[in-house]
């Protein structure tokens, strides 16, 4: 059942669907009004990442770097050393793979205040296919010291995450999505770095998700509830640092953890949960997500099913293992 403690922060205004990248674009432009030190960089994708919203309002503080992601990241680092607050955007694949060394050495190693907000993560970006589908970005960012890794589930959480990232002094990686997803939280929701949200309560299994898959996991948890199978559903936008206490408490209660992510099962949220539990509170963990395969072209709904992390897959996994 829905966790009574957080009922007041759940969106009750119907079936609104907004992409997290849209919320990013809007929030960034709002923050830009209040804080003149914010500068935004993009790599010829501002219409897709939505940094163009900021760019239109504050053209003198918007720097298109062209299709040159490595340069963009190190330029952002240089801007940060001068007291600017750079938000650097491109697709997740390019931010974390093409510019990996730059994120690591120009930004993370000197702990510079650069916010890397990358969109189009996961296979659910759809038709563009494998070359543009980030399935390793969380794994890569997690393994680099000094970077916060945040994956908001909906438009509201995105707004709160961007605001939190603005207040935080240091490197941040925010994972955003192309596709529209249901608004889960209302504006009363307060996001905290290092804290997850327990949306549903139950003792048969723990389902942990971050980002785009949270609304899918929520759908699955509700269907399971209708069949009398109550689960803990945890939304973990803060992948690094993880909300360890929340995860351990739930795992100890249910003994069965299922993680869901639009990302490889190697190195992402699922792996982070495994790392935590195997050391601090061993429990069985089944990782749903992309099973060590490259992505492919298709509609988001087809891909989620094909790659085994749709609502049916979650329900089946819970039933097969309780």
């Amino acid at each position: 059942m829905i966790n009574k403690k957080i009922e007041n922060i759940l969106n009750a205004t119907g079936d609104k669907k907004i992409a997290t990248r849209e919320a990013y674009g809007t929030t960034l432009a709002e923050l830009g009004e209040a804080n003149k030190d914010i500068v935004v960089l993009d790599c010829d994708l501002s219409k897709s990442t939505k940094t163009a919203v900021f760019g239109k309002k504050f053209p003198e503080r918007f720097f298109n770097m062209g299709i040159a992601e490595s340069n963009m990241m190190s330029v952002a680092a240089g801007l940060a050393t001068m007291g600017k607050i750079p938000f650097a955007s491109t697709f997740s694949v390019f931010a974390t793979k093409r510019a990996c060394d730059q994120v690591s050495i120009s930004v993370a190693y000197p702990k510079l205040n650069v916010k890397i907000c990358a969109t189009h993560s996961g296979v659910t970006i759809g038709e563009d296919g494998a070359t543009h589908q980030a399935i390793e970005d969380v794994a890569i960012m997690r393994a680099i010291p000094n970077i916060l890794v945040l994956s908001p589930a909906d438009a509201t959480e995105t707004k709160k995450v961007i605001e939190a990232v603005m207040e935080y002094n240091g490197p941040c990686y925010v994972r955003l999505c192309r596709g529209a997803s249901p608004v889960i939280f209302n504006d009363d929701y307060e996001f905290e770095i290092g804290k997850g949200v327990q949306i549903m309560e139950g003792d048969k299994a723990t389902i942990i998700s971050a980002g785009f898959t949270t609304h899918i996991a929520l759908e699955a948890a509700k269907k399971l509830e209708e069949e009398g199978i109550e689960t803990d559903l945890i939304n973990m936008a803060s992948i690094k640092p993880l909300d360890e206490d929340l995860i351990i408490e739930s795992a100890q209660k249910t003994g069965l953890v299922i993680t869901v992510e639009d990302h490889s099962v190697i190195g992402g949220l699922g792996s982070a949960v495994c790392e935590l539990l195997s050391e601090k509170s061993p429990a069985k963990v089944i990782r749903l997500g992309v099973q060590d395969k490259f992505g492919a072209s298709g509609a988001a709904s087809e891909l989620v099913k094909a790659y085994g992390f749709d609502s049916e897959a979650i329900i089946r996994t819970v039933k097969d293992n309780i």
């Binding site: 720097f63 490595s70 340069n71 990241m73 190190s74 330029v75 680092a77 940060a80 750079p86 050495i105």
Partner: protein
Amino acid sequence: MDLKSKEMLEQKAKDIRVDIIEMLCAAGSGHPGGSLSMADMFSYFYFSGILNIDPKDPGKKDRDRVVLSKGHACPVLYAALAEKGYFDKEELKTLRKYGSMLQGHPDMNKTPGVDISTGSLGQGLSCAVGMALAAKLDNSGVKVFAVLGDGECDEGQIWEAAMSARHYGLDNLIAIVDLNGLQIDGFTKDVMDSTILAEKWRSFGWKTYEIDGHDLDVIDDTVKKAISLKGSPVCIVANTTKGKGVTFMENACDWHGNAPSEEEKDKAICEICNIDVS
């Protein structure tokens, strides 16, 4: 440049060269060749008065910035900073030791006077672009100098940065390319030919000068010209000798990344100070 100033800078360059040799010998590892080739340039930067810096206030807000993009040459930077008074010269002996404020490649969080951490080639120039962009935005008058290796210009990111600097009209950005003609595996012309490097910079829209990187008068004239130029970034391609100042290190690939032994150190210092040991 008047004679007195020039003599002072020549002496500082010698002091820097001695510091480089001593710190590398104490460390047992590091990069003499590409540090020695820049000793005259760094003497000029830190002792001619051309830079708006203050060793007593390393974090001074509108100071000029120096980015050693070829970060492995940090001995020349550390030597210049120590001689200038950013920290005690005694610290130079601790280069590359665990816990040292002088890391194997520049660390902005450990060493006062280091404006950005570098070491992975090809990134520093981009950082310098970011600094120059911020300075333009703020109209602060801050000048940014980036020191690159010629081998480093193999890296694609250098050219991304070059393109963006011209695009944004960063005339407050001056790149110095240490054209010593060597990289690790051999002469640059044999490993990856960059012998028409100056033309490449020109074609990217940078006002480009080619100078003798050991001639202090020419360095002075050119840097002043570069600073007064408006509208485009400037590249000063400095023809240098890798290992300059120590004959057995000059033009030798082996001295890219090997530290001198005690005996080699003594011999090198004698040469630098022109002490006749015959």
